[in-house]
């Protein structure tokens, strides 16, 4: 599906990976998190290689630097919202329960869900589940945060709230963000740089302004949403 993706993500900024459906954006995201192995090549976080991190300890160290908001939040159905957000901290076994409690409530406050901690994922809306997913992804203060189609399944207002939340948390936490999305132009409000994936390769890359001004039929067709052009589905 991917054939020679080479991408450098700028530290402290958010990069959007865009492209038509089925071009491998989510696959790329899963390779970046180590959920899928790449047939060849490597992923580096700073100077640390993902493929060479085979031991449990090395893998935990890398994973501690990455947080991910999945497309449907991927919350654990059998745990309450509080326990979902607390889960990564409890697994690390570094903090006492009191300290975990403070952190969890702070993050729930940040995403506007204080008061919902005893609810279960099945009892709340998809927008609230995404907020919980964001709080869970942020709870370990990761250096890198990945967003897989953060607005999928949301109405425009809720989607806008999620994007505003991403901007606010990025401003306060300073993480490096990677957002996978096919929603233009909404995704431009959360990213500094854009990379377009098509036919397994990065076909275009640059800041939002550079991307929109590119003299590329592929980019123009994708941005305009035309059905005719070099992009064939």
């Amino acid at each position: 599906m991917l054939a020679g993706v080479s991408l450098a993500i700028e530290d402290g900024k958010t990069t959007a990976i865009v492209g038509p459906s089925g071009t491998g954006k989510s696959v790329l995201l899963k390779i970046l998190t180590g959920l899928l192995p790449a047939d060849s090549g490597d992923v580096f976080i700073g100077t640390q290689s993902m493929t060479s991190a085979r031991s449990g300890e090395a893998r935990r160290k890398i994973c501690s630097e990455i947080g991910m908001l999945f497309q449907n939040a991927a919350l654990f159905d059998s745990l309450s919202i509080y326990d979902n957000v607390a889960f990564p901290l409890r697994e690390r076994r570094e903090l006492k329960n009191r300290e975990i409690n403070i952190e969890v409530l702070r993050r729930l406050d940040e995403v506007g869900l204080r008061g919902s901690e005893n609810s279960f994922p099945g009892e709340v809306s998809i927008g609230m589940r995404k907020r919980v997913g964001l709080a869970r992804a942020l709870i370990t203060n990761p250096k890198i945060l990945l967003f897989d189609e953060p607005n999928t399944g949301l109405d425009p207002q809720t989607g806008q709230e999620i994007y505003e939340l991403i901007n606010e948390t990025q401003a306060s936490s300073g993480f490096t963000g990677i957002v996978v999305s096919h929603e233009l132009p909404e995704v431009f409000q959360v990213c500094n740089r854009v990379a377009m994936l098509y036919q397994g390769r990065v076909q275009a890359e640059g800041t939002v302004e550079e991307f929109l001004k590119l003299d590329s039929d592929l980019v123009k067709q994708f941005v305009r949403g035309d059905t005719h052009g070099p992009i064939v589905m």
């Binding site: 180590g34 959920l35 449990g56 994973c63 497309q71 991927a74 919350l75 654990f76 159905d77």
Partner: protein
């Protein structure tokens, strides 16, 4: 050409089945290896024992009572042809302890808890919850599979013993209360006929069946296909496969245990 294609498809199908068989065993070995290494998640194991064991109690007790009752009825009417109704107690007890207790308990628990395990893990897979665990460097085998398989192995012999007890009680009530057997004869003949090796062989079977259904249920859920259809197929396959394997294993275990103990 058509013949070549047919032969090719037979070959491909055979390779696929053998590969799946191998992957199933690798799954078990990996889970058992991780079960013995720390960290141990006792709270998760206890949760699963509650889910698999405690929540199966009512169905086990109900089925046990009526199984014992039916055994008593059948035994009395068969043994009366030989003037041997005094041996109804041993017939009921030995049938339950050696055979029906482990097998019926396994089939009931498999139908109830095994299907629930497969469905739960399948839904976790298709909603990316397992991926979420991995992204947090939590090993899904250790977190999800090990507690369920250990809980299956621990719960089954306990449930089997309960099944046997209520079954014998059911047989006693029907035999003595309805069919006119002597209570003293029922109990004394039963006590003298049931040996330690009968109980041990029944419990060995129950442990093996517990491992079998929990292993197959976990494997099917963990490897289910996409969407609701995938979960549906995995759940059905888990229950059917586990049931068939339990019955096949029962034959081989009975043969082996008979050689060892009798």
């Amino acid at each position: 050409m058509i013949l070549v294609r047919q032969i090719e498809s037979v070959g491909e199908g055979t390779i696929a089945r053998v590969s799946a068989f191998g992957r199933t065993w690798l799954f078990l070995f990996e889970t058992l290896a991780k079960a013995v290494l720390p960290p141990y998640r006792f709270s998760l194991i206890v949760q699963q024992i509650y889910s698999i064991g405690v929540q199966s109690l009512s169905v086990i007790v109900l089925v046990g009572i009526f199984t014992g009752a039916v055994l008593a009825v059948q035994s009395v009417y068969t043994l009366s042809n030989f003037g041997a109704t005094a041996y109804t107690g041993p017939a009921v007890a030995l049938s339950l302890i050696r055979e029906l207790g482990p097998v019926l308990t396994a089939l009931m628990v498999n139908g109830r808890a095994g299907s629930a395990i497969t469905a739960e893990l399948g839904i976790m897979k298709i909603t990316e919850q397992i991926d979420a665990l991995r992204s947090m460097a939590v090993d899904p085998m250790r977190y999800l599979m090990v507690p369920r398989i250990l809980a299956g192995v621990i719960s089954m012999p306990l449930l089997t013993m309960i099944f046997n007890c209520v079954g014998i009680a059911g047989g006693f009530v029907v035999g003595v209360g309805t069919l006119g057997l002597s209570s003293g004869t029922f109990i004394s003949q039963m006590v003298s006929a049931v040996k330690d090796v009968d109980v041990i062989s029944g419990l060995v079977k129950s442990i093996v069946f517990g491992l079998t259904f929990s292993w197959i249920s976990c494997y099917k859920g963990f490897n289910c296909g996409f969407g609701a259809v995938g979960v549906n197929r995995a759940t059905t396959s888990a229950v059917v496969t586990s049931s068939v394997v339990i019955l096949i294993l029962d034959y081989f275990l009975t043969s082996i245990l008979t050689q060892i103990f009798y």
